[in-house]
Amino acid sequence: MHRFANPSRFMRVADALLPWMIALCLPLFAAGLYYGLYQSPADFQQSETVRVMYIHVPTAFLAQAAYVVMALGSASFLIWKHPLGDLIARSAAPVGAVFCFVCLVTGSLWGKPTWGTYWVWDARLTSMLILQFLFFGYLALANAFDDPARGDKPAAILAVVGIVNIPIIKFSVYFFNTLHQQSTLFGDLMGGSGDAAKSVNQPDIAAAAAEQGSALAPEMLLPLMLMFGAFSLFFLILLVLRLRGEWASVRLRALRAGFRPAPEEV
């Protein structure tokens, strides 16, 4: 495993894989969009709005996956001092932030027709919002130093502190939601009691079930899976593209540092 911690070896492998990933990703997107936007049926209750799910759910998953990738990269950078870990974390952060933002925006555009409001302080929405803040914090900290290399360790520590806190944040947000009864609308989503579900009107249960992907018809599952694959590959493609940029800037810094004339030569 440590063999691939050498960034230039890793980049060679990644560069070799990149065309294959693109070649696989594009048809998946095409098929996913065709089935998702055209070939799949409208939902019994949510009508055509259910099509937002095919981008909302994969982006939600990938935003969280990106944070995990970022934290794992940061941890390997802190533990083994693998420079590659830092590069991966730096590359994953903006990608994750964009996926998280897309997830939030599509979620609220989906929420307006199905729930009647753009935003509720539902546990999942809230924890996604906090995840977005954590991404912003990481990006701000990683770029807050005049010498970019100086930000690597603080940002890595923040990513690790963040992932330790995520379970606590998630738990507290769910806790907040079950106590503040104004949002019982989504009680069933939070694994709440049957009492909470009573106050839920029927379309919301359908929305909840569809969002959880539990009772999903096969015609809807197919485009969802296609889009999952396409977005995951797209995430990897973006990761490689950003890694190239980060790796180039590391080499650039090394070259410039090497070129600086020693004081006695000036």
Binding site: I130, F133, G137, L141, R150, P154, I157, L158
Partner: protein, 222 residues
């Protein structure tokens, strides 16, 4: 232990000599709280409803505003470097600094909180819960804040950056603290909330100084 006490008394003495800083934090706490009746109207019911949340949010912000005191001056005069080089583990030193920070920020806030409770018409049943919650929660705020303060050492616009890093991590404390008061006011028991707050504090006491020490060491070297 002697080193812990030495750092603690040093920081306390420094903080008390600059008691204007302390007064500023408390002044912020009270003035910001007295803005809310102007914002939401003087209706006692509304004020009573939002009082626990307002007190907690302001306590959070007050702690956050005082975080730069934790390391910034010591970094400027070089004593932070000395502390990092000392044979005592840096995390112990940081724990002592955090304790001093809490004694000079969290504790005064707890003392002032009942006054704000009166200003905002907090129902009488809520006071004890509010204070116990603050007593269990504010040390965690200082501990997590120390990580943020350590990470932003030497960064541009460190003050704003700290807010961005630390506030999302404060959310669980805020939730448990506020819902504890709400629970008591609606006739429930706040025991579970206190246990969660205590559990987070118990986890933060060993972990946060470790993370902060790693951050400070890097900040001092860089």
């Amino acid at each position: 232990m002697t080193a812990f006490l030495a750092v603690l008394t040093r920081d306390l003495r420094l903080a008390l000599r600059q008691s204007a800083d302390l007064a500023l934090v408390l002044g912020f706490f009270v003035i910001a709280a007295s803005l809310f009746p102007f914002g939401v109207g003087p209706s006692p019911e509304i004020l009573a409803r939002i009082a626990p949340g307002v007190i907690w949010v302001l306590a959070l912000l007050a702690v956050m505003l005082s975080l730069d005191r934790l390391f910034q001056q010591d970094l400027a005069d070089g004593s932070l470097e000395q502390l990092a080089l000392a044979p005592v583990p840096l995390s112990i030193t940081i724990l002592a600094k955090v304790a001093a920070h809490w004694l000079t920020t969290g504790l005064p806030l707890i003392a002032v909180a009942p006054v704000i409770g009166i200003l905002l018409n907090l129902p009488p049943d809520g006071y004890v819960t509010l204070l116990v919650g603050l007593a269990l929660g504010t040390p965690t705020l200082s501990l997590i804040g120390a990580v943020g303060a350590g990470l932003t050492l030497g960064a541009r616009r460190a003050g704003l950056l700290i807010a961005l890093l630390v506030l999302p991590l404060y959310i669980p404390i805020l939730i448990f603290g506020v819902t504890a008061v709400d629970a008591v006011l609606t006739g429930f028991d706040a025991r579970a909330h206190f246990l969660y707050l205590a559990a987070i504090l118990a986890a933060a006491i060993p972990l946060a100084p470790l993370a902060a020490a790693a951050a400070v060491r890097h900040g001092v070297e860089g």
